[in-house]
Amino acid sequence: MTPAFLNFALGALVLSSVLCLYRIGCGPTAPDRAVAIDILGTLIVGFCCILGLPSGTDFYMSIAIAWALLSFIATIALAKYLEGRTFDD
């Protein structure tokens, strides 16, 4: 992996994240923002992969797995909140 390729990959992911942040900021309803937060979590997993490539060690991938788990739990919690239910039913 050349540094130019890694920079290009990070640039593309930053552009995607900026589009997500636009939707988080300007989303007309709360579910729009929740969807954009879910997507941003998945993009950050991609970020961790690209950042972990040049070093060749695996701790960035551990961060990615933990982030995917937490992002999933956050999405489920937001969805239950939008449905108007509490966490014990």
């Binding site: 992996m1 997507i39 997993v45 690209i50 490539l53 991938m61 990615a64 999405t75 937001l78």
Partner: protein, 117 residues
């Protein structure tokens, strides 16, 4: 050779990510945005992770990338389905040019089962 394949997979993944996020900004209502963004970004991130697996081979980095790809591809549709259900129940209307809303029909028939008969 594996380097070229890994770079190609990562480039495909980046393309899917970018187009999914363009869909997130451009489409008219929350359900359209949800389906465009979730499908494209899930597949794009999985392509990036598989590219890392091809690049790293059987090593801690590669195996964790594979595990993460399986996890993302299992959990992302579940989260998107829950979000769509939550958005519908919280009262977000469909785009005015949408033609069918099966979930609304299902909920109405459950609330008043004898209304149509």
């Amino acid at each position: 050779m594996t380097e070229t394949i890994a770079q190609a997979l990562i480039l495909i993944g980046l393309g899917f990510d970018l187009f999914g996020c363009i869909g997130l900004v451009r489409l008219p209502d929350v359900y359209n945005r949800l389906q465009a963004a979730t499908k494209c970004v899930t597949l794009g991130t999985c392509f990036i992770l598989i590219g890392v697996l091809v690049h790293a081979g059987i090593s801690p980095l590669g195996v964790k990338a594979f595990l993460c790809a399986i996890f993302v591809i299992l959990t992302s549709p579940v989260g998107a389905h829950a979000l769509a259900r939550g958005a519908h129940i919280s009262g977000v209307r469909l785009w005015e040019k949408s033609v069918v809303d099966k979930y609304e029909e299902h909920r109405l028939s459950k609330e008043a089962p004898h209304a149509k008969a």
